[in-house]
Symmetry: C2
């Protein structure tokens, strides 16, 4: 799931994780400073730049990118473990990460882009979450057109005008994707047993 | 939407049409006799064999097939009219019709296969709808393995164990498919206007 900052992606992710037992959040590693209220290992794995560079060198990241001078990446091991256990994994990443993951995961990746209903709402949401300084808000706003310019690289696009509606839409995408024939492990065996009794 | 008779496809279709304002049922033409309670122009367009053959000859059908000696087909004009008006069209057709429509509509077609949870349920449902003679029920049961054998040609597979759950799943597929980027007419313009104000 990608979006410009302020489109509501974090709220939608949290609701999804709170209401669905079969999805795990991928916790990114980052070299950026912890914000107030953030928890190491939950919101991010906060690491030093040398530590991050070591992970890159060892091929331990599925994707990584530098944004505003900070490095962000997705550790490979927890993702592979969750998928092997039949769980889904939610990635809260930007267009650069999505491009890299698309190559790494191909058909397994479902790409969802969240858009704000209008520019005013995007700015309002950034200001009201009160996490960032005025300078950081201005930087995030300035970065929004770049992130939004990649909307056409996604499978689904959801305009988040009202959070409950947008959440129902995110949920519908998840439910539908799980119903795709090629994702349903065990269907061949199920159909074989069903047909044997007809 | 396809399924063997008795998997609950008709119930699911009716619920979908009753709760969604933007979907239209494609009414098939058929040469078979009207069953008790069926209405001409609503359940089917009941036509004679020469009339049906004329529609075939004129290329007025999107797909057609012969089943148990009766001909069934999908009239093209109402489908094109609905799609041009931005509406979705629901097809209640078998695997033969789906194969033909897949060629005619390509990426525009979303193929959903409904399976019964087990063989007993399939038989129970056929008996309890009390529309058919014992011989017809036996024939429908005998045809089920053939229809089911085509499940892997569909995009989504839904096992209808409990109708409310299966209906929520059908609905999720519809909602999600409408959120696909390539189906959302006007997104390019929306993003252009959004970005212009950032």
């Amino acid at each position: 799931m990608s979006s410009p900052s302020g489109a509501g992606k974090t709220t939608l992710s949290r609701k999804l994780l709170a209401t669905d037992n079969n999805i795990t959040m991928s916790v990114s590693a980052t070299t950026r400073a912890k914000r107030p209220g953030e928890e190491d290992g939950k919101d991010y794995h906060f690491v030093s730049k040398p530590q991050f560079e070591l992970m890159v060198a060892r091929g331990e990241l599925l994707e990584w990118a530098t944004v505003f001078g900070n490095m962000y990446g997705t550790p490979k091991a927890p993702v592979e473990k969750a998928l092997a256990a039949g769980r889904d994994v939610l990635f809260d990443i930007d267009w650069q990460g999505t491009q890299q993951l698309s190559q790494a995961m191909e058909n397994d990746l479902v790409r969802v882009f969240i858009l704000p209903p209008d520019a005013e709402t995007l700015q309002d949401r950034l200001i009201h979450r009160q996490q960032d300084s005025a300078m950081v808000i201005a930087k995030r706003m300035a970065k929004a057109p770049d992130e939004i310019s990649h909307w056409a690289e996604y499978d689904y696009v959801i305009v988040n005008a009202e959070v409950e509606t947008a959440f129902a839409e995110v949920k519908a995408v998840l439910v539908a994707e799980r119903l795709k024939r090629r994702r349903q492990v065990g269907l061949t065996q199920f159909v074989r047993e069903l047909t044997a009794k007809l």
